[in-house]
């Protein structure tokens, strides 16, 4: 099974100079756990709810802390033809929960471990039906 159908096209994009509080608000409003960080360096970065948790744990003033302080600058990216098991193992081994999905180097979507877990567990439930 390819990840294509599971990839959410609801992309949230922020800049490295956005502050963490505004980014958390946007992620909350869009009900997503990660945002793409568009940089001038070509390769997209990523900022996630885990990064918001880290910033909170460190007592950072989120309103004056830029995304660049907590973002991952070179995240692992996927394409829509990746197999779901490969995506799951990549996330598990890398210890991350979101994959930016690229088409020809351009971000077209995001795959979260939530989407993947739901799909795999639903598939598993179906496999148990008589």
């Amino acid at each position: 099974m390819e990840i294509g159908p599971l990839v959410t096209q609801r992309l949230l994009t922020v800049g490295p100079d956005h502050n963490m509080l505004e980014t958390a608000r946007l992620m909350h409003e869009r009900n997503v756990g990660a945002a793409i960080v568009q940089t001038d360096e070509g390769h997209p970065g990523i900022i996630t709810e885990r990064d918001v948790l880290r910033a909170t744990s460190e007592g950072a003033d989120l309103a004056s802390t830029p995304v660049s302080a907590y973002m991952t600058t070179t995240p692992v990216c996927a394409t829509t033809t990746w197999d779901v098991v490969v995506a799951a193992k990549t996330m598990r081994r890398g210890g991350f929960r979101h994959l930016i999905v690229l088409d020809d180097g351009i971000p077209i979507g995001m795959l979260s471990i939530r989407d993947l877990v739901d799909a795999l567990l639903e598939d598993y439930e179906r496999s148990l039906l008589p």
């Binding site: 756990g33 948790l53 880290r54 744990s57 779901v84 098991v85 567990l121 598993y124 496999s127």
Partner: protein, 132 residues
């Protein structure tokens, strides 16, 4: 069929309802977990996930001035150690939860996450015919 006990993590990160949001976040980061179970006198009274933390700060809650009881999900659904794995999976899918505290009677004995269950099922999930 496996049970929840086969997949749960017996090392549960716990906190008190009166601890602050900042302290809860520190616990989750230090222990590298996505949720903390909130206990009062040994009984489960709530759960806080990293999504809850993000929602709280997005709503303007001040991390060092907010108690975990103000953002926790109260009286969360729990699993028992003997519950079938697929029953736990169904609970998570039906309710959209990613973590279930595991209780034996009133005693917290573990936590099971969707990621734990995914590890348990990812091979048969994608090759159901191999089980036939």
């Amino acid at each position: 069929m496996s049970t929840v006990e086969d997949h749960m993590n017996p090392h549960v990160t716990t906190a008190r309802p009166d601890q602050t949001l900042e302290e809860g976040a520190q616990l989750m980061v230090e222990r590298k977990v996505g949720a903390a179970v909130i206990l009062t006198q040994g009984s489960v009274v709530g759960i806080v996930s990293e999504r809850d933390v993000m929602k709280a700060v997005a709503r303007g809650m001040v991390p060092w001035n907010t108690k975990l009881e103000d953002l926790m999900t109260r009286d969360p659904l729990c699993a028992s150690p003997s519950m079938d794995t697929h029953e736990a999976i169904a609970l998570m899918l039906d309710h959209g939860f990613r973590h279930l505290p595991v209780v034996d009677g009133d005693k917290l004995v573990g936590i099971v996450s969707a990621r734990h269950l995914l590890r348990a099922v990812d091979t048969p999930a994608t090759t159901p015919s191999a089980e036939a």
